[in-house]
Symmetry: C2
Subunit: 654 residues, 2 copies
């Protein structure tokens, strides 16, 4: 094994961009059928190989005539021409228009020989002419005359061959993106196969012994988690115009990693490794790149670019290795938001360039900081941010995912703000440009924070693109005070005191959730204190917890003991769950005897319930946002939900 190369310094971001640009991701030219060419980029100029139309073409329904025959004709004094035949679209004319004659013609039909103009049918009349035959046995013959009530110039209502597109004309240039319009022009030219830039193939390798691909069985006790980065990165690759190829999950074993990496290098233009935060997996990849390729840089001086790797990989086929020089390689950080951030900033532009695609027009949005933000580090920062539209339609920007690695922050983060290394402070209201994670990303229609509640969830289902962070009543009210969200949801004692415009409100019955039939015959909180029952609590931000603690305080006062004495006596008082259903699910799974929760939840999951009371739930609006469209939509959705509150057990109108 070679000595591990020293990369003492993190390289500046510009150097990382340069290193990636120096890698060749382009896959050459491929030919695709016209019907599959949408969105692709022409690899070569396309000149017209034929005239469009390919013949002199009637552009009106009417009569093909010789213009000279109509000179001087008008309403009062029409030119009289003998009708000698007809020509339909899609057929070769079987008639010649001699002097004094006309042929009926349809739009799109070939001009018959001799004719040089078309008179539209509205400017003509026809007259049947009886002719006595010289041969008495055949009776009377009839012919038709066309009366032309206007005079025409040669070329009138005729599109000459090649007048639309002439053979040899430059039709579309290299680099043209094929939208319906270009597909239409190519159709007209009879092009049924189009030379386009090949889609860069991007291999995605997930690493880390703990990762399991979605759909496979998960063993949480063995520390397994679902692989988030593989599909996220694959989707981002496709959005950038690449073709994603997912490789089987690689463990931390050197031989296995080498086999998969070199196979991917042989089959792809770029290999991305992604998924693991484990130092040992990164170490193994590092070794493989050093052995079977070249490491160009290790770590970029941006937050979160420290774990980023850039290099080249050889394919497993030794001959190809020498000729083709292998594929490019980029290693992404392990945290999902960090991986997407590095992808968006460094990888997506390279894939787009290889595919010949421009940056999407909606790739950035301008906004201003919703609150001040300070920095201590001397590295450039790619700050993940969420967006919210304020009351006057401006975009507010707030930081999310401060290095937590949470997957929930994936859906809260709309994009990135680049903060220079020498910027220590972003002021509230400061203008910033956000690089969106996807061109499709839009600020949520309504953004709320607060208490988790099933009736609220139903109302949110009626909105298009809402965002709700279930962080509990306290956090909801705290953020509403700071003015960022559009609304907060408060439950329990704190709900009553809050002074904001109310969008909706109800009461819900809360208490202790127990197994079906209440086998332990739990009758109230005293049982939790006095008996040996496994309990699951809610967090201190929750309105449910607040009411539960008040009830405990009441019991403590009754018994003349400290509340602390009582809580110490409850097995699981400190075990808190984040969502309203979680304690109930633990009870249902037999992992607890009692959980704090709602009658509605017990009812839905078929569990027993011991009521401890009703608590108010209030949906409160940010004063500045009551006129916002999404907030009005939420208001209406809450009204609908309130009208059918009785569907939820223990719910009642306020």
């Amino acid at each position: 094994m070679t000595e591990r190369k020293e990369f003492r310094d993190l390289v500046p971001p510009e150097e990382a961009h340069e290193a990636i640009s120096s890698l060749d991701l382009a896959g050459g030219t491929e030919h695709v059928p016209l019907g599959e060419a949408r969105g692709r980029v022409l690899a070569e100029r396309i000149d017209a190989s034929l005239d469009v139309p390919g013949f002199d073409r009637a552009s009106m329904d009417g009569y093909a005539i010789r213009a000279r025959d109509t000179f001087g004709a008008d309403e009062a004094d029409p030119a009289r021409l003998e009708l000698v035949g007809e020509v339909h679209a899609g057929e070769a004319p079987d008639v010649t228009v001699e002097e004094g004659t006309a042929a009926e013609i349809s739009t799109g039909a070939v001009m018959p020989e001799g004719a040089d103009a078309v008179v539209m049918v509205e400017k003509t009349d026809t007259e049947r002419v009886e002719q006595s035959s010289t041969d008495e046995t055949s009776g009377t013959a009839a012919s038709t005359d066309v009366l032309v009530r206007t005079s025409l110039a040669p070329g009138d209502h005729v599109m000459l061959a090649g007048a639309d597109v002439a053979a040899g004309e430059r039709a579309l240039g290299p680099g043209t993106r094929l939208t319906p319009r270009e597909i239409g022009l190519l159709s007209a030219l009879g092009v049924d196969e189009v030379p386009v830039r090949a889609t860069p193939r991007v291999g995605i390798i997930s690493t880390g012994d703990e990762l399991v691909r979605p759909g496979e069985p998960l063993d949480s006790n063995a520390g397994q988690i679902f692989d988030v980065n593989s599909y996220t990165t694959a989707t981002a690759v496709e959005e950038a115009g690449g073709e994603a190829v997912l490789y089987p999950h690689a463990g931390d074993d050197y031989d296995e990693m080498e086999r998969i990496l070199t196979q991917a290098a042989e089959e792809c233009d770029l290999v991305l490794s992604s998924g693991s935060t484990s130092a040992s997996a990164v170490d193994v990849i590092y070794q493989v790149i050093e052995e079977r390729g070249e490491l160009l840089l290790h770590g970029v001086a941006v937050k979160p670019g420290k774990p980023m790797l850039v290099g080249r990989l050889d394919g497993s086929d030794a001959e190809q290795r020498e000729s083709a020089g292998g594929s490019a390689y980029i290693g992404l950080p392990g945290y999902p938001v960090s991986a997407l951030t590095i992808f968006r900033t460094f990888v997506a532009p390279a894939i787009r360039a290889a595919a010949g695609l421009p940056e999407p027009q909606t790739a950035t949005v301008d906004g201003r900081m919703a609150a001040e933000e300070r920095y201590s580090e001397g590295r450039m920062r790619l700050m993940p941010v969420g967006l919210v539209t304020d009351g006057v339609g401006e975009t507010l920007v707030y930081p999310v995912d401060k290095g937590s690695g949470a997957t929930t922050s994936l859906v809260e983060a709309d994009g990135i703000v680049e903060v220079d290394a020498d910027t220590a402070y972003l002021a509230e209201g400061q203008a910033v440009t956000v690089q969106l994670f996807s061109a499709d990303v839009r600020p949520p229609s309504a953004f709320g924070v607060g208490e988790d509640d099933p009736a609220l969830s139903r109302a949110l289902d009626d909105l298009t693109n809402p965002r709700f962070l279930s962080l509990g009543t306290r956090e909801g009210l705290r953020r509403l005070r700071n003015g960022v969200p559009d609304f907060a949801v408060a439950a329990g004692p704190d709900a009553a005191d809050a002074d904001y415009p109310e969008l909706g409100g109800w009461t819900r019955e809360w208490g202790l959730i127990v197994p079906d039939g209440n086998p332990e015959r739990v009758s109230g909180i005293a049982d939790l204190v006095d008996r040996d029952l496994r309990f699951i609590n809610r967090g201190t931000n929750s309105g449910l917890r607040r009411d539960f603690d008040d009830a405990l305080a009441g019991l403590a006062a009754e018994r003349d003991r400290s509340r602390r004495d009582l809580t110490d006596a409850i097995d699981g008082y400190g075990l808190t769950a984040k969502a309203h259903e979680s304690p109930a699910r633990k009870v249902a799974a037999g992992q607890a005897d009692v959980g704090l929760g709602l009658r509605a939840t017990a009812d839905e999951l078929g569990l027993g319930f011991v009521s401890l009371g009703d608590q108010p739930v209030r949906v409160l609006a940010n004063d500045d946002r009551t006129g916002k469209e999404g907030v009005a939509a939420l208001d209406a959705a809450l009204d609908s939900v309130e009208a059918v509150l009785s569907e939820l057990a223990g719910y009642a109108r306020d």
Copy 2:
């Protein structure tokens, strides 16, 4: 056959929108694998079915400890704990952390029983401790102590089970568009199949006996043309979020049309007919809809909506017909730009709505009229327009395709401006909103009009997204005077007089193109006048024609005859071709003896050439646009081309 229903009045556009909204295009819910869910829209709310993480998880590399054991520890006075084991990510812990002990732990690993915090490795040291064994045969045993140089609180560097996402929590709402972020959250939840709105299936039927699908042989003599609308419409359907199904081309025969329409109705949510301008084909479709469905409206009071049909179609399966009620049907106009205009305005929104997709953010652009525009008709107008960016970055809007039906105007038309029925006049500079044909459409980087030239074509190949209309020198200079394009290309006598900033220029050798070896021994224009040679000319807008006519005038003067006498004597003087290569191609194809053209063209096509002189070609900039990025890029591209002009026969630097 039923009586043809009377639709005397064109319905207002709002009624057409309503009629289309009343048709049900939605295809229900389908389940797709997570890896194929990009861009799709969730059909149902997705709640978390498990906790993320599913276990208490170390979020640092370090040691799992009991926080109480570190109370009071600091740099000077570390807590000493005995190392009792290690836990890696992806494995079940086989160690319990008792009082006074620690276990080495990796980021992502399961917290071992007994431990409630992780101390990061940087805050620790280890010390090897030799212990004399009581059993002398086994020698000296060694153990390791961990010195913890900080004090920790319970929960430090631990992510509790469900802290990221708790089971039962609302994860994503119905109607959510799936971008990489949402795919990431679904991955974390282990969702491998996603319920999404089905893609509306849109059947496309092209009609008209004259249409041939690209790739098939074309008989121009029989008036055949390539089918433009089928692929154009299919591409637009896919852009709007539908799945396009192309049906075999239908002739104008009733039985065949009925068979294909009813088959499509059975298999699709919407059937579009598209392609023919032929009255007979429209008549047949009309009859089929009346017989096998219901016609809701015929003709909309917008230009170009007169030929539009909206209705319902039954499937061919009689049982299904009664239950499902058939598919929707919309008939589009025949001209390509008109078809795309009607599609963009009436059909695309309905497909997007059925697919659950919002209108793309870049679907419109604001600009101002480049010139005034007057209207006489009392119908709403959907005016196809082109875009050009002016010198200060504003978007200028100019009308294209005034009903010509040309396919070339497809690529010139960037979108539509809706002009109300009661608007008779749009002033120059008036603000208008353009509905783009595709969200990907952008104004050209540089927009030019003028003389067709092979050296120019090479320069254009170096630009991204240029637009050049080869309409000849005169039209180029006329439009440059009116200030719309960025540049004009002039050749011949008119080129010398034009007074604009010059971006590039050269001379090219022009003359008569003849078959290889010059079998007719043509020596100059006198042969065209005096001998019986079939000639192909260029149009009067062309700089080549201008020089040719001057040469003819010279010959006329020499012979003391009128120019008209000479032109009348040339067989084909009036037969003009649009592009510089077209006459040469006719000569190559044996359809003409002599063509007007360039030495470069004769050279490239292996034909003979009789020189008549050199003419200047000048690329002239709009004074206001010399600072524009695309114009600067053209300037540079022209420099590159001029440097290798000798590659083109008969070309020389100016």
